[in-house]
Symmetry: C2
Subunit: 427 residues, 2 copies
Amino acid sequence: MGISPLQRRRDLALGSGAELFYDRPLEIIRGEGVYLYDREGRRYVDMYNNVPVVGHANPAIVKAMSEQQATVNVHSRYLHDGIVTFAERLAALNHDRIESVVFSCSGTEAVEVAIQMARVVTGKRGIVCTDATYHGNTELVGSLSYLGSEPPESGDIRAFPFPERFRPLVDGVSEEKLCEAYLDRVAACIASLKAEGCGFATLIMCSIFANEGPPEIPSGFMAKVTDLVHREGGLVIADEVQSGYGRTGQMWGYEKTEFLPDIVVTGKPMGNGLPISATAASKEFVDAFRAEKDYFNTCAATPLQAAVGMAVLDEIERLDLIQHAASVGDRLTGELKSRVAGNEAIGDVRGYGLFLGVELVKDSNSKEPDAALTLAMSDRMKDKGFLVSYSGRFNNVLKIRPPLVFSDDNATDFLYAFDECVGEMCG
Amino acid sequence: MGISPLQRRRDLALGSGAELFYDRPLEIIRGEGVYLYDREGRRYVDMYNNVPVVGHANPAIVKAMSEQQATVNVHSRYLHDGIVTFAERLAALNHDRIESVVFSCSGTEAVEVAIQMARVVTGKRGIVCTDATYHGNTELVGSLSYLGSEPPESGDIRAFPFPERFRPLVDGVSEEKLCEAYLDRVAACIASLKAEGCGFATLIMCSIFANEGPPEIPSGFMAKVTDLVHREGGLVIADEVQSGYGRTGQMWGYEKTEFLPDIVVTGKPMGNGLPISATAASKEFVDAFRAEKDYFNTCAATPLQAAVGMAVLDEIERLDLIQHAASVGDRLTGELKSRVAGNEAIGDVRGYGLFLGVELVKDSNSKEPDAALTLAMSDRMKDKGFLVSYSGRFNNVLKIRPPLVFSDDNATDFLYAFDECVGEMCG
């Protein structure tokens, strides 16, 4: 099949490797709520995009954005009430030790700030992360991003196998023993960093290991690993870029998976499309970072970021989207789980609120990943009008992560199309 | 003097080290064109901010922003005509070898992409930069940022003294010999990187050395250093975050200082306040980068960035701001230069279009920098209603970098206040 004239122009203007979704890429020209529309007027239920968390083209966000841009939008070396109030609200939404905020533009930048902060506070350099994660794309943060590749054991970075119950590190043991096995691997990473001489600064993890699956985490792991990190003199960074902002049915993923991070990184959904990200921690940690790094980010901590960021929080409250994500997500997860037993290809269904993973396998005994089926099913679901994607260590997990305005009726429609799709492709 | 209640709240919400301009910080609540207004309704001529390049609260930008956000704003893994067209326009505005664009959110991110690209293309790691520069704040880019500190000679980075005529590297030689002296220092950096074994990937520099002064560059240096870099197998990155978008009276700083970079980094003014940045190069280089790095930036390369980015370019054309910057800037520079001879404190005046530096010294013979006077004068000018800041290796250069809508009448008013200020402070 030939590529379209627009795709040909894009190939020159953005370079050939700029990724496009789907076998026949979609040209999206309009959005509204949970729906996206292509040039032919075809409507799709968006079940992938977590940036437009309060809905595509949400009028309240448009209003806040245009009113602030029409009033003033300058950097943070002048005083401005909005940005202070926004930072106060973000801090107050977090647990008690989180008091102060450093704003930036992208999740990657916020992770950079978090790691630099942990290094300043601890005076050490070593970082521990999982072996199938993605945290961003700078030289530093990219070196922690192993999704789809092998983690190098470079000087000041160590990776541990992410905790999961579907393909457990140790077979046939109790959940408590399994948890201990993962904790042992984390402890080994920390010991190795200390032996190397760079010391141990931080463990960084997504609060639900979004890119890793998201897996079902052995009970108690998150709180126990936090204790371990603290005993070893390190800080825990929670990457809430995907798991935050109501996604899991709680405001933060760390509330769902029950631990208290020292540094919280937030990104994508904060601006419903406007670039905003944040790194939040105790005032003591933020002060130490600022004293050492003299951090400034021209287009961050602006009145525009503040106005839009607060409008997003207002909409989440007004539409009760956190409770909504919990109830719609729970039902959808339950419905999908009920399909596991009846179908060899559906290996596992896992979910936290409106972040779901459907793991596709060649057969349910071997659990051999079926990446080809996953890719094909994502394309087929697109043709049926539902936009999902795939993720996971083996690219065999259908990734379902809609705007939080995704409704119960949308879920019903999706399940109908999903069953159809499974019938056609896994017959 | 006590701090205000807002400043006290800010101290907790953003952390204590978050920089504020001026002895008594300004609370800015409104902007229009070249003017900013504080809570008391006092009007200031903004002579510092280069982000709102087409003017604060420009209605054309507000319109483009709100219309696009009300239509659709998604990431770049769907096709969208706007982002392709914007990339095409950016490439076409550059010299012939610049064909393709990687979008990101901040100048820092665009510099990260540029350095990673140079490393991928050359297969080497070594970087050369000046000894008083600032390119951004990630771990990698921050290690190239020495403004106000000593450059460490770390493994794969070398710094050379930035080229200037006011405090030349060698006294009493011809301009040609001075140029050669600087080139020798660059050559020594490259040789040292090669000897170290990391090889030489790139020389990165602001096209007008904005943070360094901006200095008057010995004639021919930029073209000659580009030749040198190419002979040594490296690539030249032009950081156009400050010097681009009409600032110098040309679209790009490299047109003004006459060289042809391999990679062009653009940032701050691109979105008039919306975070947008870009790294542009040949398709060959961009393809190589994308193949190796699989770069994706969720809130970059979006329909919103494209719509706002093109509206900014449209306004620059409609208001003829490039020619305007040249004519207003030339007159202002000339007027200020005419004050050097008559005043011991004004050591030097240098400028490129609407980027001017006024170097303040204790006396004109010794050229001893007067940072205290510079800081005090910046505060005094603020009280007179004109917002400038300071920069340079010794923090003794008044930095004048207004939105490009700064008018000839604004320049006249500024000169009156400046003369008053000099009379009061340097009597």
